[in-house]
């Protein structure tokens, strides 16, 4: 069955989601998109997993086809982000999901696993800790919805610089089309979430299996981010480390076959019936 989309109201926000309508005998895979973008990033993976896993991806408020928060605002902190993601999962009546995310989504899965009963998480291009410098990175974030700045143009080269050398041209085009469609308010919200994120203190609360994926060409997510995360998850049932050479920050679009293969392998550690302890 092809990918289909729909709307569901989550915490009063009309929220757009897509699913590949896959089989429901294994944990449903819930997907979190990268900063400023939307759920179409998971189309390739949804097609690959069509007959294997049920996948659900959704647009965060103010992104893609989802409505913004009241007053045309976006979520701007990680607790509200994860609370919304969990409310979506509950509204969709998904139990024991495998939650996967890339970039800011890859950061958020750690907090979700610390605080919500998930069957497992996959963090791609993620970190448990981002220390940004207020005098520089903060200024860039402030300029994202400045009336004299075109966010669709000003971040083109930045996104391009994060793409891996092996990325196919059509995937690169889609990634850069994503920049061309960004909304400054949404991007500013996401990078505010990204900025000064730190959930290292609660990593020992994570008991579910975890896979950490890093496209090695991503200069913005150095390997030590992943190593530090893995070192902290001392109570996780299983931690799988998957470095992927030649690909970069948008790895779900750049190398969907490789990611699907890795997730397929990882699923052996994810028990659909288990509900890990969480705070």
């Amino acid at each position: 069955m092809a990918i289909s989309g729909g709307y569901i109201t989550v915490n009063g926000i009309k929220t757009y989601y897509e699913t590949n309508n896959g089989p429901k005998d294994k944990p449903t895979i819930v997907c979190l998109h990268t900063a400023g973008r939307e759920c179409r990033q998971y189309h390739w993976m949804m097609d690959i997993f069509e007959d294997r896993y049920n996948m659900v991806a959704f647009d965060m408020p103010a992104h893609g086809k989802s409505w913004p928060l009241p007053g045309n605002k976006a979520i701007n902190n990680h607790k509200d982000y994860c609370e919304f993601a969990w409310a979506f999962i509950q509204a969709m009546e998904i139990e024991n999901p495998l939650v996967i995310g890339c970039s800011v989504g890859g950061n958020m899965v750690y907090y979700i696993a610390e605080h919500y009963p998930v069957a497992g998480i996959v963090s791609m291009q993620g970190s448990t800790f981002i220390k940004a410098l207020s005098g520089s990175y903060g200024t860039v974030v402030d300029l994202l919805d400045h009336p004299y700045i075109s966010v669709q143009h000003s971040h083109f080269d930045f996104s391009e610089s994060l793409i891996g050398q092996k990325c196919p041209e059509e995937a690169k085009d889609f990634i850069l089309w994503g920049v061309a469609q960004e909304c400054g308010v949404a991007k500013k919200g996401d990078l505010s979430i990204y900025n000064n994120y730190d959930v290292r203190g609660d990593l020992d609360k994570i008991s579910c299996p975890v896979m950490v994926i890093r496209g090695e060409d991503d200069w913005n997510v150095p390997e030590h981010y992943c190593q530090e995360a893995m070192k902290g998850m001392v109570n996780s049932k299983k931690v799988v480390w998957k470095p992927i050479p030649g690909y970069g920050h948008f790895i779900i679009v750049e190398a969907p076959e490789i990611i699907c293969e890795a997730i397929d392998d990882f699923m052996q550690y994810v028990d659909p019936a288990s509900t890990p302890d969480c705070a």
């Binding site: 940004a132 005098g135 913005n220």
Partner: protein, 130 residues
């Protein structure tokens, strides 16, 4: 890093490339057709100012513009050598990831507006100066 005269000659070569074989990419994909003004690069102690009109490089001069720097970057010889090695503009300007990151000069607003143009110009510079 070479002396000032060598650097000026290299910037003349950059001008040939940016107005010649690199022009279409520079003006279209990297949006330089919208850029008129000047870009100042401080290399060690020496400032070089490149003047542009609608993405065409008009001239290079030694010194800072008398009406102030429009946009630019400054760094030591060590910082420039590091950039010419990795050639990644975004990494070169990231204080989060690079202890050798450049100092951004001029207007932050204009710098952000012309980020793509700066990035591509720097890549062409790296081809000539590495």
């Amino acid at each position: 890093m070479g002396d000032i005269n060598t650097k000026l000659q290299q910037f003349e070569k950059v001008k040939e490339l940016i107005n010649g074989p690199e022009a279409e990419l520079f003006k279209t994909r990297y949006l330089a057709r919208y850029f008129s003004g000047n870009i100042t690069f401080i290399m060690g102690d020496a400032p070089f100012t490149l003047n542009f009109h609608k993405g065409e490089m008009v001239s290079v001069e030694l010194g800072k513009p008398i009406n102030g720097i429009h946009i630019g970057l400054g760094g030591s010889d060590e910082q420039w050598t590091d950039f010419f090695r990795h050639k990644n503009f975004q990494l070169a300007t990231s204080p989060k990831h690079n202890p050798l990151c450049f100092e951004i000069l001029g207007s932050p607003l204009a710098y952000r507006q012309n980020n793509n143009t700066m990035a591509q110009l720097m890549r062409v510079m790296a081809k000539v100066m590495q």
